[in-house]
Symmetry: C2
Subunit: 326 residues, 2 copies
């Protein structure tokens, strides 16, 4: 029997082909360096989860037009713009097994191509002539940059609490995924309750997606993940597992963790020590439980829709978020 991932991929293969075409098409008329940097970040193994969610959401609401793939690229462009700027801001070195864009193309081109992708995504949204869609994308873009700024402000701050963390991941990740589903429903001119249901689905899926992403930085196989585990901690990013554990640890254990985290050059042994303390205080299990809850909520939101292949796919995608290894 096929695994969940293979089943999902089989069902969306044609959609993914068309999304790839739309992504490539939209870039070709621009300056070569734009295409090169944009392709480097966009065709380096992204999962196209955001455009796919938009397309599937539109389909679930009965959309039969031909504009969905064209519009869906907006979500990948915005996401890619964020990756380009964030890797630079974070001083990251590796993404999906490749050197980060700014180390290959330099900071100037990386800043400017990020700006271009951001601007281009808004321009594509404007072409819809649909104010509600434009509004969502404009405010999501502003929220995302506030989320990134929030993350920067909390960098290395051991007092970061769960609500600070949730605030950052909502803005930097969840709202864009929510927007993808929301815009899909709007494109299909769905009735309001369905639009709301898909926005809710996307929001919860997005929160879970980031929770799992942050978990993988502790628990993944570095080979599969395409970068070393412990990268977040090394960059001073405190995510839920460690926030939860720090909050519950004895003074002694907390001091021990803080000492290791406080020096970004910590060794593999140092990371393992932090990880084992995180596990001791249930930080991994807690973050996983929170992700589960959001996935359950996401799936419940779909209850308003009759059973269909598209609904089944969105449910499968939600389950997959919890299972993914990279």
């Amino acid at each position: 029997m096929k695994g969940l991932k293979e089943r999902i991929l089989d069902s969306v293969r044609q959609d993914l082909v068309e999304i790839e075409e739309a992504l490539a098409e939209n870039l070709s008329p621009y300056l070569p360096v734009v295409s090169q940097v944009a392709k480097y970040i966009m065709f380096g193994g992204g999962k196209r989860i955001r455009p796919l969610l938009m397309v599937l959401s539109a389909r679930l609401c009965g959309y039969q037009g031909g504009y969905d793939k064209t519009l869906s690229v907006v979500f990948e462009y915005l996401h890619s713009a964020t990756l380009l700027h964030d890797d630079l801001v974070d001083g990251a070195e590796v993404r999906r097994g490749n050197p980060v864009a700014h180390s290959v193309w330099g900071n100037p081109a990386t800043v400017l191509v990020g700006d271009f992708l951001l601007a281009r995504s808004i321009a594509i949204a404007a072409e819809t002539g649909n104010i509600a869609i434009i509004d969502i994308l404009a405010s999501t873009t502003a929220q995302m940059s506030e989320g990134e700024i929030g993350q920067l402000l909390h960098k290395g701050d051991l007092a970061t609490d769960e609500s600070d963390y949730m605030d950052v991941i909502r803005r930097k990740t969840a709202y864009l995924i929510q927007s993808a589903c929301h815009v899909g429903a709007l494109l299909a001119e769905a009735e309001e309750a369905r639009v709301r249901a898909l926005a809710q689905y996307g929001y919860n899926l997005g929160v879970a997606f980031q929770l799992v992403d942050d978990l993988l930085d502790y628990t993944a196989d570095g080979q599969v993940l395409g970068k070393a585990t412990g990268t977040d901690l090394r960059e001073g990013k405190l995510t839920l597992p460690v926030i939860y554990a720090l909050n519950r640890a004895t003074n002694e254990d907390r001091n021990h963790m803080e000492e290791i985290i406080g020096d970004p050059a910590f060794t593999k042994a140092g990371f393992d020590a932090v990880l084992s303390l995180i596990k001791k205080y249930g930080g991994i299990a807690y973050a996983r439980k929170r992700a589960h809850e959001h996935i359950d909520q996401a799936k419940r939101s779909l209850g308003i829709f009759d059973g269909s292949k598209s609904r089944g796919l969105l449910e499968d995608l939600a389950d997959y978020v919890l299972m993914r290894k990279m």
Copy 2:
């Protein structure tokens, strides 16, 4: 008798006060670091020429509503976002006599606050609900980032010709100033010929504005300008005066200029030698002549409007572009 600058300032004093208020108001609800960086770049001596042009264009077309100042901030935000990212991309050190933002706040905050201002400006435009206005701003933003990328690509390239240069300044400067005038006319729901006339005025004013800006980098008093002359050349930016001179110089003079320009650490004496060769071949006079032509065209575009205080002000502003010292 008062000078042109004082006359203009007297006429727009109340507008400028209201624009300043709108600029400050729109930032206050955001994260402190956003306000700080944004205020640093925005309240460091900018001339508010873009918001002012939008407000005056709307008024010339009979606009009497109260939304002009609110919307006008979009043009200052977009401009400021570009300054933040460009100074970083250019490795600049000083702007208007102050250290550049990224040397005070660091690259990460500078990248992210630039993104925020860009996103916020699109969000404010989206709030108008006016598709034509949103469209203009979205495509201008994309053009601006292409202009900056074009400039980066031509950096230090001695084969840059006048048409490459014009292409860059159109995108990085003229289209935004054009948009300000265009959007002002649209806000006033002006008839199409007037909208077109103001867009033309803005375009030509914008081209002249950048031509003069680039001239000042050769001819200004560094104290008045707020940065040393020769900065463009040091950053590898070939602007019209030097492009024109290189193109007309004897082999010997061209080689001499290229030798100096080729080493960004050139001395004051080196710069003076380049400047005197530029003058020998008429590069300063030519760029000034081109700026004059665009200002003449800008003023001619206003011919469609009856004489009025607003029309007179826009004409004065055009004349002032040619006279400014900083």
